[in-house]
């Protein structure tokens, strides 16, 4: 009788990386549905196009690196990157914008750094920032929410949307317009109250902008599902949202004409919820310990608010996340948990053995 020599532990939980990634994909569904309902077919086309590009690029690169293509595609990580990028891009963006962004994510941000697990920056956000800097016009025109479309105008149908994306047809007048964060940023000289009463994006909204609030609620719902499934811990998302809330409350300025906006608007507009639950929770590029993730999340929240309020861009999740990615290894050095039997936490940069005398 001869048996296999296998190292302990022998039992294994049924979780695997592919399943985790698939769950993340499912959890984006509420957000995607909200986007599609309020802004038309564009986001769905983005997501499908980005996914196809990403899977093809991943397969090609993995092949070039001499690894097993089927094994690496089964981890679904390329699909997650692509879906998140597709959701972040403006609906009805030209196809090449989506393709360039996806290739930047998969080829440059991920595989040039060593592939899954080795990328220091969030690949989807790298793709997004490359596009935002390279093609500002395409990246800043967003579709008008369904409820605010002019009389007689509707979102383009699926076929028409495809023509706009792939053949460059222009959408009808009034189909594109500013986002709530845009309008807020470029409404200088108006009191918050005036903006809220004059701008239909706010006057017809519940809490933070027509359509957008639902998109954010959708991502919040998806994020809570992931949190409930213990895909990530609460530390990062809560820290980020708390930091945004605190910052916007501190600088609310009584709703004056200089006010950067209310906490509610900042929490439920733009990419806040998607950023909190789907972007900064990317484990590869974030801080590792729970304490580290608190700091990391809070840093992103503060940066998001600073750039939104005083920077040149109406939204800032991508920049904030990339900046925090830079900081993550540094944060990790100082946020080790206290190990059992030790008096205090240690620093990762400590040399030699610890003084154990009590």
């Amino acid at each position: 009788m001869a048996f296999k020599q296998i190292t302990s532990p022998h039992a294994h939980a049924s979780q695997n990386t592919g399943k985790v990634m698939q769950l993340v994909l499912w959890a984006t569904l509420p957000g995607l549905l909200a986007l599609t309902y309020h802004f038309g077919w564009g986001s769905l086309i983005n997501v499908v196009l980005a996914t196809a590009t990403a899977v093809a690029a991943e397969a090609l690169i993995v092949q070039m690196r001499g690894r097993s293509v089927s094994f690496y595609l089964r981890d679904y990580s390329a699909a997650v990157t692509a879906v998140l990028l597709g959701l972040a891009l403006p609906p009805l963006a030209p196809w090449w914008v989506v393709v360039v962004g996806t290739l930047s994510s998969i080829v440059v941000a991920k595989h040039l750094y060593g592939g899954l697990g080795y990328n220091p920056f969030n690949p989807a956000m790298v793709g997004y920032v490359v596009l935002l800097i390279s093609f500002p016009i395409q990246m800043t025109s967003w579709v008008t929410p369904l409820a605010l479309l002019p009389e007689g105008v509707s979102h383009p149908g699926l076929f028409e949307s495809l023509s706009i994306v792939f053949a460059g047809y222009s959408p009808a007048d009034g189909v594109t317009g500013p986002t709530p964060l845009d309008s807020f940023k470029f409404s200088d000289g108006l009191l918050v109250e005036q903006i809220y009463s004059q701008n239909p994006l706010f006057s017809q909204a519940g809490i933070a902008g027509v359509g957008w609030e639902w998109v954010n609620l959708g991502f919040l719902a998806g994020g809570l599902i992931l949190l409930g499934s213990k895909i990530f811990t609460w530390h990062g998302p809560v820290a980020m949202l708390a930091a945004i809330a605190i910052m916007s409350a501190l600088f609310w300025d009584g709703g004056s004409s200089n006010s950067p906006g209310s906490p509610l608007m900042h929490l439920f507009s733009g990419a806040s919820m998607m950023g909190a639950f789907f972007i900064l929770t990317d484990p590869v590029s974030s801080a590792v310990s729970n304490r580290g993730r608190l700091i990391y999340g809070a840093l992103i929240g503060v940066l998001v608010y600073i750039i939104r309020a005083w920077g040149n861009y109406p939204d800032a999740v991508a920049f904030a996340v990339l900046l925090a990615n830079f900081a993550a290894p540094f944060i990790d050095n100082y946020t080790l948990p206290r190990t059992y039997g030790h008096i205090d936490r240690r620093r990762a940069t400590e040399k030699g053995q610890e003084d154990k005398s009590k």
Partner: protein, 591 residues
Amino acid sequence: MKTWVTPGGVHPPENKHQSLTLPIGSLPLPEKLLIPLSQHIGTAAKPCVELGSNVLKGQKIAEAAGPVSVPMHAPTSGTITAIEHRPIAHSSGMLAPCIEITSDGRDQWQPHQGIDDYRHASASTLLAAIAEAGIAGMGGAGFPSAVKLNPGRKRPINTLIVNATECEPYITADDSAIRERAAEIIEGIGILSQILGHPENILIGIEDNKPEAIAALEPLVKDSGISLVSFPTKYPSGGEKQLIYILTGEEIPSGGLPADIGMVCVNIGTTYAIKRAIVEGEPLISRVTTMTGEACGINRNYETLIGTMVSHMLEHSQFDEERCSRLVMGGPMMGFSLTSADVPIVKTTNCILAPSHQEIPDDEPAQPCIRCGLCAEACPVSLLPQQLFWYSQAGDQERLEAHNLFDCIECGACSYVCPSNIPLVQHYRHSKGEIQKARAEKVKSDHARQRFEFHQQRMEQAERDKEAKRAARREAAEKAKATAAAKKSDAPSDNKTDAGSAADIIAAAQARAAARKVSPEQQQAKFERSIAGAEMRLQMAEEKLAEADDTQTDEQRNILVAAVEAARQKLEQARGRLAEHLKQHNGEQVD
């Protein structure tokens, strides 16, 4: 009673019910038993029987070697048929010294009896009896119990913890033993308490997934001063460090022992063995071992003789090799795989697990670590397994130490939850080995450096000593010279003292050299003698050459010719030297 909650932990399927449907059974007496001499932490025991001698059940066959060691006893009566290296149950599959006993089938005990009135016996008497019975911790590590129970006066023990957690899935050895032997276990705990001088707290820690065991103990601990504490089931609550924290909220300092904080932690199976040793005088020759897994038709606990081959156990448990995915000694979390079933059960073997392919499938290939952090959430000692893995791959020993690699208890919770199927624990074991090797090498190189530096120092010292001696001599010579000069200066010339003395020295030296010199006449005579010698040798060589003639080969003749030639040259040289000498000498005279 208040309990504390450890961080992390996992909840693998318990799979304990399978082996609990039947009471503790016993196997047919095996034909051969193999007793490894090292089944414990510490020095291996020394055989004290001869090959071929007959032994009775319970007879000592190997002596403890040193203070941290335990003796071994014959698990049955029979003949010693081998004392040699055999494969044992070890994760490396290594060979180790063993004693083989071929059973005579009679299973005949040697006369034995417990300590009379042990309740009044001294701690040292009881400890000696425990040591003599060969008892080592039966929970897994196998630390000699008599050593553990005697931590010394510097560390007074105020808490005795009895570990009945049995947190590993599948294993039910302790559970079934408690159900059937609760009274003896409690008696064993009483003996432990007596040895430790009746500590203030005596706690039995047990997970709440063993209601029958709890029910069996509950009536017995009433008013006995023993607290039975049950707490929620979570792996690895049965680790010594974890259990102590759960029951007391205290932590053993890193690198320390429970005794450092006034505690002793003993496995509940060990308390039973101690009771048998003290009260009945029986050495540790058998233990409860769980035989479980879907590849076996019979899942149950056996009272197994130490030294029983795993294959013997499998044979009597309807084992189906085809169905078996791997063979594990211990539980599915920390047990190690056996490559062969021809290895013996030892004092620490609590379980043999033979799972089917469905039960524990082969490992999936590892995917890249995405640092998801599930491992950090599962770690019971608050490490960052993903960082340890990262630095382990990089071989960054400094970072590994800063991340407290050596506090890892290798419980496997991180690997269990890892969605990328990375064998994390394996990486940590490897890195620990590497670091220990590096440490050992550092000690060695430090010694070498010290030796070198000491040698260097010694050589320098010797050089300095020499220099000092030289200086002293020089000083003495100068002093002597000065006194000589002073003497001279007392006499005639006052001004030319120095020049005068220098001239004296040179003259004296010349005189000495002349005395050593051979006179020209003597030299001439020497040269003449050497000429005469050379002439004689030449003559002899010529005679030899003349005798040689035809009988010799050309080669031989050539040698003789060469010899004549050499002798002639020597003669020439000698004559030359004499002529030179005469010329020189005459020349000198001419001058």
